[in-house]
């Protein structure tokens, strides 16, 4: 079953890609990522709790959650599912929110105003020798019109560039 919303046609320039092999079948990994009862057990950063998590797993459905920080402060997040392919792929937007599910700017939580207001998370689950190969892409969505070219690995190029700059400027 493939359900794709129209909004999924978004490309990105800035992309963080992480790949992991997980020793569990795709169906279980997919469930761990999309069932709140499972997600609440692992999604919160170390020392933090996830006291609230609601998932409406369908394109256009909402992913509303709360992270309770170590100092007791609550940070709410909201996502909209763009694409769901059971048990292969989920795509959702991610933004800061309040307890009522209204999106708020990153400055609401004391972050710099240059922090992107909305990011896009794509998780794919592929069967790999009886295990699951998970690929996570986290990016700042940029529409196709704004994208001039497709090229893999630009972040590596950026790293090299930053290194060269550091050498040139004496590490400043």
């Amino acid at each position: 079953m493939v359900e794709t919303s129209k909004e999924a046609n978004v490309s990105s320039a800035a992309e963080l890609v992480i790949t992991r092999i997980l020793d569990a079948p795709c169906a279980l990994v997919f469930k761990a990522w999309t069932d709140p009862e499972h997600l609440m057990n692992w999604f919160a950063p170390k020392g933090c709790a996830m006291p609230y998590c609601k998932i409406d797993l369908r394109p256009g459905g909402v992913f509303h959650y709360c992270m309770r920080m170590t100092e007791g402060r609550d940070i709410w997040g909201i996502g909209i599912f763009r694409e769901i392919v059971v048990p292969e792929r989920i795509v959702y937007t991610d933004a800061f929110a309040d307890a009522n599910g209204n999106q708020v700017p990153p400055t609401h939580y004391g972050l710099s105003s240059s922090h992107p207001a909305e990011t896009l998370v794509t998780v794919t689950f592929t069967e790999y020798e009886g295990k699951t190969k998970l690929t996570l892409r986290h990016s700042i969505p940029i529409s196709v019109e704004e994208r001039a070219g497709t090229e893999e690995g630009w972040t590596q190029m950026l790293d090299r560039l930053a290194e060269m700059l550091a050498v040139r400027k004496g590490g400043s």
């Binding site: 963080l16 997980l22 990994v29 710099s112 996570l136 190029m157 950026l158 060269m164 700059l165």
Partner: protein, 116 residues
């Protein structure tokens, strides 16, 4: 710093020619003519790319109207790098927890299966 500064930087970096121009400038400042050479594109096209990069704060250009050398600016690149580094750390940690949680689930399943 404008509200969507990071977005502007990312948009400027979305183009492979502009990334190549930045890579060229990493080895030192250069004129429009020097920058146009390896890409086989027109001077106006290079100028257009330079304008986008300048608006994003990724380069600075000399005042000399004749030569106007372009120079790489480090801070927006650093900001992009910081964003990527922050979320890489965040997700690596999350995936460690997921890995651990999956082992627990499988262990439970195994015990449950044995008791049947």
């Amino acid at each position: 710093m404008s509200a969507d500064c990071l977005n502007t930087t990312f948009r400027a970096l979305a183009d492979p020619t502009r990334r190549a121009i930045l890579a060229h400038l990493a080895s030192g400042e250069a004129s429009v003519t020097e920058l146009a050479e390896p890409f086989k594109i027109s001077l106006p096209a290079v100028s257009k790319h330079l304008k986008v990069l300048e608006r994003a704060g990724l380069i600075a250009r000399g005042r000399d109207a004749q030569w106007r050398p372009s120079r790489l600016e480090a801070s927006p690149l650093k900001e992009v790098g910081d964003w990527v580094a922050h979320y890489r750390r965040f997700w690596e940690e999350r995936l460690d927890c997921l890995d651990e949680y999956l082992s627990q689930l499988k262990e439970k399943e195994r015990k449950h299966g044995r008791n049947k």
